[in-house]
Structures are given as C-alpha cells and as structure tokens.
Symmetry: C2
Subunit: 491 residues, 2 copies
C-alpha cells in the first residue's frame, strides 16, 4: 500500500489544475465537499466517490498545514495516505481515479461548489493530568471546529446540506453550528430559515473492514428540523448500502450527538471495569481470561471485555470527557458523568500499571535489551494516535535507554518520531532480554514466532494484550519467564 495506485493500474492520473477544471470534467454530478482528510474524512471521501445510488464529484478539503498539504498532494498524485488492512481501500481509490471524481484541495472555495458538505474535522480534548479528569483538569477546544464551521458559512451555497460527522459535545449542532452559520449567513445577507443542518455519526473502525464500517454499517442520524433530517436521510441512502444495514432517525441533533459519545463511553466503561478486575485476578492468583470467557456465554454478558495494556485511538480516550463537559457547559448540570469520566482515568492508568507489573515480575530493567511488538493502539491497524503503547514505551525507555520496535503496519511512529521495523527478524536476535507484546496483531499470534522465541537462549516475555494461548504460555515457560496481564504469575 501507499504506492501510487495510478501507476499500479496503468491509468493516467487525471491532473486537475484547479477546482473549476475538476468540477467541469464532472458536470451533471452533484458535488460533495468533505472537510477534514484524516482517518474518517479520507475514507469517507472514498465511500462518497463510490456511492451506492448516485454519482458524485467529491472534493476533499483540508486546512493548509504542512501535514495536510502533503496529504493533499499524495491524494492528487494517486497515493492513498493511510495504511490499513482493508483491500477495499485500494479498490475504491482506484475506481475514483478511473472515474476522475475525487480531488483534494486546501482551497475553501470548494464549499461554493458543494451540494453536500460533510464535516469531519477533529475536535480535541486537552488533558492536563493523566489521572484526574475533574472538570478543571481538561479542556475542550472548540476553536478549530468553530473556525471550520464559519469557513463553511462564508462560502457555502445557501441550500447546501451541512452534515456534521465530527464527534462533538452533545448540544454542539444547536448551540455552536447553527448560530455560527446563522451569523455568517446574516453577514452575507442570506435567508437563514432554509438552512439545512444534519448530524450523523460514523462508526469507523480502521482495520480490515475500514470501508464497510462506513458503507455497510448501521447509522443514526437527525436534523435541526424535519426538512434537514429528510435531506440527511436522502443523502445517506445514496452512500450507505441500506440493503445491508439500518438507518435510525432520532428526534434531535442533541440525541444523535449524545448517542455517539454514549456508545464510546459505554465501551470505555466496560474496559475500565475489566481493568480493575484484572488487578483483582492477578492478586487472587486466577486467570481472568478464562473467567471472562466462561461468563460471556451468557447473552446478557456477551459484551464483557478482556483486560489489556490500555485504551487508545482517537475516540474512547476522550469521548466520555466531551460528554461530561457538555453536561456542565451546555446544560448547566452540577454533576460530572462520574462513572464515564472515571473510566478514562482508569484506562489511562493501564499502561502505568503494566509497567509496574513488568518491574515486579522481571525486576530492574536497566541495561536490558527490550523489544516492543506492536506500537499501534489496536490489532490489525496502523493507527498510533493516543496508543497506550506510548506510555509504556516511555516508562521502559527511561530504564533501558533503548528499545527495538516492530509493527507490521507502522513504518514510522509519528508521535515518538521513531522508525519502526516491519521485519520480525530485524528485531528478534540472540541478545534480546525481554519481548513485550504490546499490540494484539494477528501476525504475533503464530506458533512460528513462538518457535523462534524458544530458540533464544534467555529472553523473558511480557504479554500485555492477552495474545498468547495457554499452550503457547506453557511451552514458553519451559525455557523463559512469562507474565501475562490479567493472569496470575503463580505457575
């Protein structure tokens, strides 16, 4: 991946010189502008360029930063900027190149041309502490988001549908998006009463079903009024395959915004629950994995989670905080969402706990030759945003001064400014003292790899993601010391 698709398929990549030439060569097509070309927006662009029932011309728009300009250049040259395991990404990108219906730009004039504008910009939470998320200890920064909305308001057609996909504090469409667009429309002396604003959140899962997690996955949507909700429904039905999944309309944008952060808070809370019980399991000398599997046979308990090194990615690490922030700032509540907020601090502490266990089991790490297997935040993806591996890496690094890194999906770890090997052989060598399984990539769940580790003369293993099977643990323990998070070390 990351190669030029246009060269691969022997197609002349269409070199549009500007927006007008792009739109001109796509006449008779409705235009979709997608603001934000990150992990959601870039793939959403592909889904829209390969729509189900209507042909669109799709313009990916980003603000001009060094990173986004590089990304825009890559896209327009025929290289998709994200690495993932999903073959449909290549396929969809290839199709859009053949059709010439996708163009990326930093030029906000794109919004003038669009019939539908989809907002996929980030809305970040700045954490001031790692384990205290009372309201004074984190900030929700709405400035970039507001700027994006007012840019749209300055340029958009008055009849365009503006569809918010960004995860926002509940209340944002009503309290931020609508008044911001109103203001811009008033400045432009436009009518505001026909403004179409919809909200529908994505459930993107970077990984082997990246595209399908948008295209074939149930969706919840709403509008600021019935006309907006109808327009949103009409549009979604052209890009989502509703023969394979359901669309659910909720009464208000408050409701769909809340649904999104509730979904992720539920997940974060269930993970935090597993965390505290994995501590207890270790103390009581039992294997939480077998307990959880025994309980999951109950349908009412199927969502019980397994313990892990921690929670990463862009959503679960912040969405409960967005919700709690909204509750107080938008709706005047006095309470935090205590359980949900607590889940974030519990989860953020997981890699710290993993480090403590590591030291407890294996002793002083000074001078050890350590390898991390996996840097991305979950198995099967190359996404390192807010990866819990980062915290553990920094802690171990402070002891050892050097660490070898492997990940099948990551060549360069941006957050750490570090090269990462994609070849296990480059990392696995006779001098290795400790292997840390830090991401549950399928590639590591291999008896072949275990055999290679068995050949090392003296190398301990710390499985922080529950990757190893009972048999693999038993085998490794005949030669090496092995510790697994959530399991007893009493052998």
């Amino acid at each position: 991946m990351n190669n030029k698709i246009s060269e691969k398929i022997g197609t002349d990549h269409p070199h549009f010189t500007d927006l007008q030439s792009f739109v001109g060569s796509n006449s008779n097509k409705k235009v979709i502008a997608i603001q934000g070309l990150g992990f959601v927006g870039a793939v959403m662009s592909l889904v829209c360029a390969n729509s189900v029932s209507e042909e669109y011309a799709v313009i990916g728009v980003d603000i001009p930063t060094e990173k986004s300009l590089r990304r825009i250049k890559l896209l327009n040259e025929g290289s998709f900027p994200l690495v993932a395991d999903d073959p449909k990404i290549d396929e969809f990108f290839e199709n859009s190149i053949k059709k010439g219906n996708f163009y990326a730009t930093a030029n906000p004039n794109a919004f003038e041309l669009a019939d539908v504008i989809i907002v996929d910009v980030n809305l970040d939470v700045e954490k001031k502490s790692n384990n205290d998320f009372s309201l004074s200890k984190f900030d929700v920064d709405l400035a970039n988001f507001k700027f994006a909305i007012s840019t749209i308001g300055k340029f958009c057609k008055p009849e365009a549908l503006i569809l918010i996909e960004t995860t926002v504090p509940p209340g944002t469409c009503e309290k931020i998006v609508k008044p911001t667009l109103f203001d811009e429309f008033l400045k432009r002396k436009l009518q505001t009463n026909n403004l179409l604003i919809g909200h529908s959140y994505e459930r993107v899962m970077p990984g082997p079903e990246y595209i399908d997690s948008i295209r074939n996955y149930p969706r919840v949507y709403s509008g600021i009024n019935e006309v907006s909700a109808n327009a949103t429904e009409h549009f979604l039905k052209t890009i989502i395959d509703v023969s394979k999944c359901e669309l659910t309309r909720l009464d208000s944008t408050n409701a769909t915004e809340m649904a999104k952060v509730l979904e992720n808070s539920y997940r974060a809370t269930n993970i935090a629950f597993a965390v505290e019980w994995s501590r207890f399991a270790e103390e009581a000398g039992v294997d939480l994995w077998s307990i959880v599997n025994a309980i999951r046979v109950r349908k009412t308990h199927a969502n019980l989670m397994l313990p892990n090194i921690g929670v990463g990615g862009y959503c679960l690490t912040k969405d409960p905080l967005l919700a709690s922030w909204s509750r107080k700032n938008f709706f005047g509540a006095e309470d935090d969402l205590k359980m949900s907020v607590k889940s974030v601090s519990t989860n953020d502490q997981m890699p710290v706990y993993a480090y403590k266990r590591l030291k407890k089991v294996f002793g002083n790490l000074n001078g050890l030759d350590v390898a991390f297997f996996g840097v991305s935040y979950r198995g099967g993806v190359g996404d390192t945003r807010f990866s819990p591996v980062e915290t553990l890496y920094n802690l171990v690094m402070s002891d050892t001064g050097k660490i070898k890194l492997h990940d099948p999906y990551v060549k360069f770890w941006e957050e750490q400014n570090m090269k990462v090997s994609n070849e296990i052989e480059e990392v696995l060598n006779e001098n290795l003292d400790l292997i840390i399984f830090s991401t549950a990539h399928d590639q590591y769940n291999s008896d072949n790899l275990i055999q290679k580790i068995m050949k090392l003369s003296d190398c301990n293993v710390f499985d922080s993601v529950g990757l190893l099977s009972n048999d693999q643990i038993s085998l490794l323990r005949t030669k090496h010391k092995v510790s697994v998070l959530g399991r007893s070390d009493i052998i």
Copy 2:
C-alpha cells in the same frame, strides 16, 4: 399458587414423621441435603428432586427460625412457599410429592445421611450508609455462613461432596470453608485428605423461567482439587440438562467465586452507567430509550441497559461489595474495586433521584392520593427483597401519609409489613391524583389499563420503569401530565 398441591392433585401427601422414615422409604437413592430453603435453595431442591439422570432423595434443611419453621411446615404439607410465574414450579413440586422424594427439616442430623450437601445459605452485606461504600461503610457478615459450614462439618459423612452455591467473597472456599471443615473433621478424628469441596454458582432468575434458570442454564464449577472438581462435575451432570447448556470448569474455587461476583458487578456497573446517562438525557431534553435502542443494534453494544427506578434483589445490590471486601481482606490489596463499588452507590441512589424528579415535575405531594403499581424488585416476579420501590415508597409516604399498593404477585409486602392489592380495580378510582409505575410487570403494559386511566378526571402518571410506549404516553398526555424517567419532560 401457594395452594396445597397435594390437594390439587388428589394425592395423599406422604407424611414422613422423621428423617429416618423419609430415607427408609427412599432406600437405594442417593441423598442430597440442601442447606437453606430461600429463593435459591427451595427451587434447587425441586431441581434435585426432579433430576435428569439419577433418582435422589432430597432433604431441604434450614436453621430453626420462626420463618424457616413455617416454610418447612408448608413444604411438608404440600404448599410451595414461593410465588412465581413459572408453571414448572408446580409441576416439579407435584412430581416430588408423588414420588415422595422431598422432605424439609430443621434437623441438622440430615447431613449424616447425605451423599451430596449443597450450601445455599445467605451471606449478607450490612450497609451502614446509602451512598458511601468505602470499606469502613459496610460489613460482610460471615458468621452465619461459617456456622452453617461448621454444622455440616460436625455431621457430614467424610466422603460427602460439599458443594457451595452461596455467593461468597472470592477466596471463601479456600480461606473459610476448607479450614472450618478441617477443624471439625479433626475434632471428629477423621481424615481430612479426602475432603470433597466443590463450588458452582447458580444463575437463578426468579420469574417465568425460574426452574430452567437452574436446570437448563450454563454453569461454571470448580473444586478445591481435581478429585473434588470431578465429583462436582459428575453430580452436576445428574441434575443439569447438559444437552441444553454447557458446564465450564475453572482452575480453582477462587476463579469460580470471582466469576460469580464479576458477573453481577458487570450488570450493576452497566445499570449505573445507564443511570448517569439518563440524568444527562433528561437535562438535554432527549429520550434515552430511543438512543439506547439505536445503539443496541451494534452487537458490541447489545448489553447496554435502559434506565430504571433502581436495582433490587439479593445479588446486584451487594455482590460488588463482597468482591471489594474480599480483595482487601483476603488478598491484601490496598485498592477498592472502585468502578464496581461506585455502581452500588449510584444504583442505590436511583429511587432517591426518582423522588426528586417526581417533586420537580409534579410539585408538592402533600395530601395527594397516590398509587404504586408494583412493589417487587423486577417485572414478572413476586420477590421484594431489597426492592428499590421501598426507598421511593418511604419518601413519598413521608409526604402523603398514605399510599395504595398494587402488585400482581405480592399479597403481603414483608419488608414494609403492608397488604398489597392484586386487583387493579381496588386501587384505581376517581380520587386518585398520581399513579406511579414502579415495577415493570407485563400486566401494566396494557392498553386496557391506559383506557381506564384515561377515564379518571385528573390523575398524573409517573413512569419510573419505562413501561409506557410512545403512543401510550402521547395518549395519556392529551388528558394528564406524564413524566418518564430517562426521557425529557419537554413535550
């Protein structure tokens, strides 16, 4: 129900005068003694008396209190002491009367006769506060449980299998049961090395599938050693229908004990999660019910719970506390199980919140004529133990001085020492000012009942259990004021 089954079926009830005559008339059968004849033990007795693959003589044993002696008398006269919606209860009890293979007694000599002894006694948590469960604020009382175990140790055959079903703090079999039995065996100058102790927890759900929730429901089991685990497995296979459900063996009694309290803590935590979001939903003017239903279509989120008046019953109100207690007292941890413990206080506060909302929406309740529909802790059952209705009832009572009570399954509310009507007509009358739906019994989910409420001239409705459909709410609102927990009151 609660009628004499023996009369109903025209069978002479076998009047055993003592244990010997009972066992004599059941010669060639193995004997099971079940200690504790409450919500689990009584029904477990029926399951054992109607076993799958071996004929047993079953003796229900309880300590001689006024209540248990009354229960023993009822059982031996052919009246089953629990009311539930499950027709199999009558059927199984009837069969056991016909076969003459069930006898109840307060005589601990029963244990001398038993090949298998099942422990179903209560192990209670005493809460000293309603919203603070830090470790100093509740007590785990092991005295009764220990007494029950030492009584068994004084009488039991040395080769009997002693199977613990009581929900206990993890570690109890190893740290309490085993040493207590050892002590008693030593006093009796018996060998201790053949002691058989198993642990397998029930997942009893009082209600329409009461019997099947024991007989056809997956089970987790263990033993203090392999021989004990094997004996437990062998026994369970004779009473559980393993063609319909799985048995899962875990490595140690610590593990199965932990599995039980983890299961219930998971449930309690998920309910507490729904609680805090239902507050937020009300504040933001949205309907949490539709949000939860939209999210539950995701398999990973199917266990998301709906908001409610609160959590009741014997398990979820205490099991997270048993776990946290064990973690500190048996395994020396410094931490509470914070999320799990927090769920108990969150849930215990739910009826208090319901009361506050009631007052906020309907104003002063003084002098109002109020009816509660439902006193049991959940729909479909007559179990009032730790019913959340109790807290709400007490709070409303302090304003109104009188309350009408209805419940289809409860004739007498023991905890409140109050008669309860089983006839809706007795409660529903023209003077009624406020109806509170307090238990989600199916009987209340009836358009017929809604029509009757519509005929009242001025009666508000507070649905604290999400019983009413959108259509029913809309209809009622054409005439009355209606408020629903977890939904906006903005109409």
